[in-house]
């Protein structure tokens, strides 16, 4: 279990600034799919109620129908839970020193990566389409020097604000590191003396 007050490989002066998940709209699409996949067959059962009752009182068709219906409903429930797990385990953590990206792809693939804020070269926020504009969610891309890929915060809430925050934290971290570097050189010099 991950604790937000004790991040993986946490550094001495590191603290969490922002914890991100995909926008609640992603959750809404799971709920909508669940309601449709349960609601439509349920509506059909209600509409053809007399036929369904005839099936249920049949000693052979009845149990077969009930078993198939049960398997269908349980599958939808499990599918919704799997999708929710995928949503729940996709997280991005921004600290004062690093960005940590944890992405769950299906049930069997998981990618956890991190990058130092000082290595960030470019941050881009992207809002595309009517839904993303109305609900203020979108993508943030964080590009680093010498990296093949780039960090992608998928469908997060308020990407513009996150982009500004990352940019500010990158500047602060670079200043902190250059101050540390100057201090460090000074210390080495003093040791040499």
């Amino acid at each position: 279990m991950m604790r937000l007050d004790h991040l993986p490989n946490q550094r001495p002066d590191e603290h969490m600034i922002l914890f991100l998940r995909r926008h609640w709209f992603a959750l809404l699409s799971i709920v909508t799919a669940f309601i449709l996949l349960i609601g439509i067959p349920l509506a059909l059962v209600m509409y053809f109620k007399e036929i369904v009752v005839d099936w249920l009182i049949n000693p052979v068709i009845g149990p077969l129908f009930l078993i198939l219906a049960s398997m269908y409903v349980l599958s939808i429930w499990l599918f919704a839970f799997l999708e929710f797990t995928d949503y729940y385990l996709d997280t991005w953590i921004i600290t004062n020193e690093r960005i940590i990206s944890i992405e769950q792809e299906g049930l069997f693939n998981r990618t956890a990566s991190e990058l130092d804020l000082a290595a960030v070269q470019d941050t881009t926020a992207e809002i595309r389409g009517i839904l993303q504009t109305v609900f203020t969610y979108g993508q943030v891309y964080v590009q680093t020097a010498g990296e093949k890929g780039r960090f992608h915060f998928k469908n997060i809430d308020n990407p513009e604000r996150v982009k500004e925050l990352v940019t500010r934290l990158v500047e602060e971290d670079k200043r902190r590191l250059s101050a540390l570097g100057a201090g460090g050189r000074g210390k080495i010099k003093s040791v040499i003396k």
């Binding site: 279990m1 991950m2 604790r3 937000l4 914890f19 053809f48 007399e50 036929i51 005839d54 099936w55 049949n58 000693p59 052979v60 068709i61 009845g62 149990p63 077969l64 009930l66 078993i67 219906a69 049960s70 398997m71 409903v73 349980l74 599958s75 429930w77 499990l78 839970f81 799997l82 929710f84 797990t85 729940y88 385990l89 997280t91 944890i102 769950q104 049930l107 998981r110």
Partner: protein, 94 residues
């Protein structure tokens, strides 16, 4: 035409299929719950999510199992009479 062999099976064979599916369901659910607990963020929400899933599963399974208990599972399902079930009575309104 040809005659189907006269094989009589109790309708309880449906339960074997249902049981196999339930084994798959339980294994997949446990694996998913393990993932959530292993990699999820510590907090009350995590326990709430797992409880909702387990509770929902119990309700759904109970809602299926109790009506299923009402049926006579020793009733033989004869292969050469399987066509009898597919008759006009099955879809009276269609």
């Amino acid at each position: 035409m040809f005659d189907l062999p006269d094989i009589n099976l109790p309708i309880a064979v449906f339960l074997i299929v249902y049981g196999a599916y339930m084994v798959f369901y339980v294994l997949y659910s446990l694996f998913n719950i393990y993932h959530l607990i292993r990699y999820g963020v510590y907090g009350l929400g995590l326990y709430l999510i797992v409880s909702i899933f387990v509770g929902g599963t119990i309700i759904l399974v109970a809602g299926s199992v109790f009506p299923l208990l009402e049926y006579e599972w020793t009733l033989p399902l004869s292969l050469d009479r399987v066509g009898d079930f597919y008759n006009e009575d099955l879809f009276p309104a269609l």
